[in-house]
Amino acid sequence: MLERNITTTRSTSRSINALIVTVLAVILTQTPTSAIAQAAEEYRSVSVADPYLEMHTGPGRGYPVFHVVDRGEDIDIVMRRTDWFKIRAGNGTEGWVDRAQMERTLQPAGTPIEFAEASQTDFTDAPWEVGGLAGDFGGANVVSIYGAYSINPNVSIEVWGSQILGNFSNGWMGSVNLTHETWPDWRISPFFTLGTGIIHTEPKPTIVQGEDRTDQIAHAGAGFRVYATRRFILRAEFKSYVVFTSRDDNEEVEEWKVGFAFFF
């Protein structure tokens, strides 16, 4: 029993080790190349249509305005962070301009430029959604992440991965489900869901004697997606699971979860 315990510990820490090494490798290889790419990059240029354009020292509303660009002058767009744009004025000064002011600049063709702001319309129409939820799974704690793809505003396909942490057993669960939103344009949008997957349970050796099990599951549920702000969604749901065990009786488990998600 103890021996098996040791091997599982080792394999998990090894996989986390591998993850850390990969992330470090990505950072180390990325930094110099992205710096080179940036140096060679050709920035998009627009001209100021407002009486003047205010440049802030940082990407936030509290940062002071330290420079203004007059109407008609050309500016280069270096990069964007959330709703702020780093620009370079004709004299080389760099600073941050908010989206509202950037929308009142003109492209070389003389047409105004548009930057989409995530809004409630995107909450309804955006194809992708990623989120994390936590809650209670039949008395145990559960932590889940999911990714969703919307086929249309009403129907989406979701893939879930969950870790279950209980007093008597731990485990993980993976599932695929279809979600239907009846009123996707509501700010608080209710949904129904149906799905299937597998659950893996490892009883804690110190408390209960038992074997590791992997069983198929099916679930049905309902919940709410609430549009919070920009790209943020709050989500709460209830799911009822049937675990198809190899014993005579199927197990039923109820799950409650709340969390957040963002769409893009």
């Binding site: 936030g60 990069m79 962070r81």
Partner: protein, 227 residues
């Protein structure tokens, strides 16, 4: 219990069946096709210019909302002493205030005072002493601002708070873990940041007899890159 599940199952099926039909109308191309509006030629324009102009599309602009990096510091595991902790983190900045982040970390527990004093058999095997964790947090930049070094240099910085959930593997078990903390982000350039972060990881442990909530304090120094 079973009947409740059945009702839920059937009502979900019904919901898909009834309103799903209308929803899938456009999915297979049966919906009304929208004809694009005819191109308008502005009044008074005689010659159509053949100059190719470059329209700026949003994806053309480099958007740097993600932050990825590594950290190293000290983690004090309750009853098991303080040890080096290192790990990686990734964050996505949703607005100028809010961000979500995920991190993984690894450390190792030392000997408890009991083990040292008694000199007896150790409580845990070497591999059980290894601690690994992951967490998913929501954070907010409560005090964004600038930090000055001398007279001529100003760097953007922010004091942030964050809290979240995750799991810790320690002493041969996965433990549901809540964490919260605060940090200071110092931007060396607009794309490279340094972090100082203090965090408390809380989980339940019953290794020494009775079950208790262990506070595991972590202080770390990190470097991240925006992309």
């Amino acid at each position: 219990m079973e009947s409740r599940f059945r009702i839920l199952f059937l009502s979900t099926l019904l919901a898909f069946g009834l309103s799903g039909c209308a929803a899938t109308k456009n999915l297979f191309g049966f919906g009304e096709e929208e004809t694009p509006p005819p191109a308008e030629i502005p009044a008074g324009q005689v010659i159509e210019p053949e100059v190719e102009r470059r329209e700026i599309r949003e994806p053309d602009i480099d958007s740097e909302d993600f932050e990825i990096g590594a950290f190293i510091g000290v983690l004090s595991i309750e009853d098991f002493g303080s040890n080096v902790v290192y790990g990686a983190r990734i964050a996505y900045h949703v607005t100028e205030g809010f961000f979500v982040e995920g991190s993984v970390g690894q450390s190792e527990g030392g000997l408890t005072s009991f083990e040292i004093l008694s000199g007896g058999a150790p409580l845990l095997s070497d591999s059980e002493r290894k601690l690994t964790y992951y967490n998913v947090n929501v954070g907010y930049n409560i005090l964004p601002g600038e930090s000055f070094i001398g007279e001529g240099r100003a760097y953007n910085s922010a004091l942030y708070i964050s809290a979240g959930l995750g799991s810790t593997r320690f002493a041969g078990d996965d433990r549901f873990t809540v964490n919260f903390g605060a940090g200071y982000r110092f931007l060396l350039t607009d794309s490279i940041a340094m972090h100082v972060d203090f965090r408390d990881h809380l989980f339940d442990i019953d290794l020494l007899g009775e079950e208790k909530t262990a506070h595991n304090l972590e202080g770390s120094l990190g470097v991240t890159v925006f992309f």
